[in-house]
Each structure stands twice: as C-alpha cells, then as structure tokens.
Symmetry: C2
Subunit: 119 residues, 2 copies
C-alpha cells in the first residue's frame, strides 16, 4: 500500500507531474528540466529523487549529465494512459512539451552559465 501511496503522492504535485509528462517525450537531464520548470536545480533534483524512489523514473549517468527517463515497467505507461484520458486543461503541458523539443543538455548548460554570470 505504501508503495502505491508514494506513487500517488509523487504525482500529486504540479512540478513533479509536469516532469513525468515531459519525460514521456524523451529522457532529460536535470538542467533541461530545470530550464522548463523555472525552479532551482536543487529543487528539481529533490523532486527527481522522490519520483525515482516511487519507481516512476530512473536516472543514468551519461557523460557529464544524468539522464532521467520513465521507468520501464508496464505499470507507469498504463497509469499515464489513464491519466491522459482524464486531462482537460493541457495548456501548461503543451507549453512544456514545446520547450522540451527545443532544449538540449548543451543549450541549457550554456543558459545556466549566462544566468550565473549575471549575478
């Protein structure tokens, strides 16, 4: 029961929900997610940890970046398929999706560097 509850809890927060929906498009590194959600890196990392513990996503080192993707079981896709059917207002998710399509680990690391310099 606890396991299922932790899954629901993980999906019951807007930023984490958006992360999971973004990962349906493709796998993403931490800073890519960060650039779409516009929240701090540490917060994104915390959310990813929680999603990972719930078994919804998996992270794997790839060169300089840790790429996160949806868990490859049958449960997660089934759950998201049902959730998809219930979705009404999808504006935010569509916006996120467009940003994901334009993003890449290289680009968003450049962006973060610029932001850092401005400070």
């Amino acid at each position: 029961m606890k396991q299922v509850i932790s899954i629901m809890k993980a999906l019951g927060e807007e930023n984490r929900f958006r992360i999971v929906m973004m990962l349906r498009e493709r796998s993403l590194c931490v800073c890519e997610i960060c650039s779409v959600l516009e929240i701090s890196i540490s917060t994104v990392s915390t959310h990813l940890k929680q999603l990972s513990h719930a078994g919804l996503i998996e992270g794997q080192k790839d060169g300089r970046w840790v790429m996160y993707r949806l868990a490859e079981d049958e449960f997660v896709p089934d759950l998201l398929k049902i959730v998809q059917r219930r979705l009404t207002d999808t504006k935010q998710l569509e916006r996120d999706r467009k940003l994901v399509l334009k993003a890449s680990p290289e680009k968003c690391s450049a962006l973060l560097r610029m932001e850092l310099e401005r400070k």
Copy 2:
C-alpha cells in the same frame, strides 16, 4: 491538469487512500469510516470533502446519515483497477475490509455514544 493532480494528491495520503479502497466494498457513512480509521470525525469529514472535490467519491443524504460511495464514472474504477495490480502489502486494506463487513451506521453510532460517555 489541476484536476488530475488533485486526484493524485487525494490518493497520496494513507487515510484517504484507505477510504477509497473501503468504498469499493460498499457505500459508508462518515462514522463508519471514522470507526475503521480511528481518527476524529472532523478529520474524516475533511478527507471526504477533498476526495469529493477531486471527483473520486460522492455523498448523499440518506435518513440520518450521509452515505458516501465511489464516483460512478468510468475513470475511477479504471484507475483503481490499475492501482490494485500494483498493490503488494495489502494487510492494512484487508483488515479495513473485514471491519467494514462487520460495521453498520447503527452500530458505529452506538459505539461513538459510548466513547462520548467515557469522557
């Protein structure tokens, strides 16, 4: 999106999750749920309100009691079916189920009266 998130949030809390699972057995009044979960009536009422707003359950006056039942759309049963598949540790839920089978609005109101007298 907000609607789906509120559903997940509603299911992402142990007591609310247990309530929903109990309601799969049959419809229940507030004090029956209260007697199974062993938390205060006002807290149960708050949880029921949240579940109701999320569209997971519906309440209806029936004589002295308000009977709550699962929402009668196709989404909720589908969601719970998938969730059921993922359930591993079901001890708590089985215990709840047994208590539900023994309970009735009449019995639990008598129980509450006794508790009140003891105070």
